[in-house]
Symmetry: C2
Subunit: 303 residues, 2 copies
């Protein structure tokens, strides 16, 4: 019996798709990080390349404002570029939309996209418009970074300290997922001053996204429950599993971590939440009494 | 009363969206051609950047084979890159899909994409997977071209001869829209040997896509009905308005056009169908007796 997508889950689906993808030597990193990394002969910059699809009733509903929906659609791709250490530059936007939608809705949708885009020097350079009963927005974003600035999920090493850039949990309930500012400035600051060993943006949930770093880096991690910066009303479980926080999660060797703690609290918030341990120790969550707790780290699964 | 998208139509919608887009000096061409053109400092190549969304029951149905759907999804973006004179290189693919879909369907969908992609040296380097009741596929494609090879819609001049690369009409009925080979080789040949003054791929229909060249170039056009190469059973009207042919439509000054006709029939098919005239003469369609006919050139409108 052939298996359904719902049986193998989102990660099984992605793994299956990745298995058949072949890339050329100009692809420095293909599928499997926040963005692909492409080399352009003659240029010292690398291209960062990412795409995100948002579908009505999955990522937003008709009750949300079109401006907020537009904001979210492009901001989550900007967050991916930031998570690689790059600057977002050029977007193409496809929308699937019903003919019954009124033009002011469309204008607001693009106003939301343009407003956050220009803030970070990003421009929309093209797109596609098709008919669809439910609203669909797909944003593809090209970013740029120097080779030396690019941060992958795969560089975390034992004893590295784990940081997050902001408060986690209840993003959907609080509306944060529609108005977050992608951590482009924080990323530039961290990358320029401290060169993180690994980085990812928290879209699926801290537990799930940390497990991506663990898997790609071949390490384990310990997280101190009471150190996780949480949004108002968010439980520890919500901070670990809700997703759509769009904060950056990154790791630094102990010496560089100390410098972050000493110098930077004034400019940006970087919360230390744990450290990298041996792969064989897996994912350890410690409560405020130092007692280990188990967490199902699967995180958000669409299917 | 605010207007609905269905009232202003696809072109009205696109014009409205374009009005608010701001670009930087690195964007050599933004929205309004088959692909955007981006300059990368240090590189002699330009990036061509295009995106296409396909939605179930609009561009294909559940009755079509997943392999054919995958083929179409990426081939239509490859056709856009070819229409600019470039080579398709790097794709990112988003799919919206139901959890009830079985994995062999997904495997075949990507097999269809990979098969046509590798034929032209294109690779899939990333993507997104989300839940959706109806199948949605969004392909974004990056291509490359030397600055001197890029062909826009805007360069057609009076007395240029108009060519198409293949037979038109009944693409949907005949299944051509699911199995066409993007005209990458033809484009390379034309661009390398003859430097067309304008080019576009026929996705909305000959009448509509020629009108894009007319509009962007500020010219008129005369087309000889009986010279339009038509598919079996296709009427002149179908050849002019059906769309999804994915042939290239291009223009050449008379002297270069003569060279095409003399030298190339053996290698590729290039059908001469008319010529560029003054803007004030508009779009003239001549029947086999030389009598003018009128054509509503709006072409395919999704909404």
């Amino acid at each position: 019996m052939p298996k359904k997508i719902s049986e193998i889950g989102e990660w099984g689906l992605i793994d299956r798709i990745r298995k058949d993808l072949k890339t050329t030597r100009f692809v420095q990193k293909g599928a499997g990080d926040d963005a692909a990394v492409i080399t352009i002969p003659g240029s010292s910059k690398r291209l960062l390349y990412t795409t995100d699809m948002l579908v009505e009733d999955v990522h937003f509903t008709k009750d949300h404002s079109p401006k907020a929906i537009g904001h979210k659609a492009i901001a989550c791709s900007m967050s991916d570029v930031a998570a690689m250490g790059g600057l977002p530059k050029y977007a193409v936007v496809s929308i699937g939309i019903s003919g019954d939608v009124e033009m002011p809705f469309v204008n607001q949708l693009y106003a939301g996209m343009n407003e956050i885009a220009v803030k970070f020097g990003t421009c929309i350079v093209g797109g596609d418009t098709v008919k669809s009963r439910k609203l669909i927005i797909n944003v593809t974003l090209l970013g740029e970074a120097k080779e030396s600035e690019i941060v992958y999920r795969s560089g975390a090493r034992k004893d590295d300290v784990i940081f997050v850039t902001g408060l986690l949990g209840r993003s959907y309930q609080s509306g944060h997922h529609l108005k977050f500012i992608p951590r482009v400035m924080e990323s530039q600051y961290i990358v320029g001053k401290f060169k993180p060993t690994s980085m990812i943006d928290i879209s699926d949930g801290l537990g799930s996204d940390l497990s991506h770093i663990m898997k790609e880096s071949g390490v384990g991690a310990v997280v101190y429950e009471d150190k996780i910066p949480r949004n108002r009303k968010a439980t520890v479980h919500q901070a670990l599993t809700d997703g759509e926080d769009y904060e950056l999660l990154f790791t630094l060797p102990a010496d560089r971590a100390k410098r972050v703690k000493n110098q930077m609290r004034a400019k940006f918030f970087f919360g230390e939440i744990g450290k990298i341990i041996d792969k064989k120790e897996g994912f350890v969550l410690l409560d405020k009494n130092g007692q280990p707790r188990t967490l199902k780290v699967e995180g958000f699964n669409h299917f």
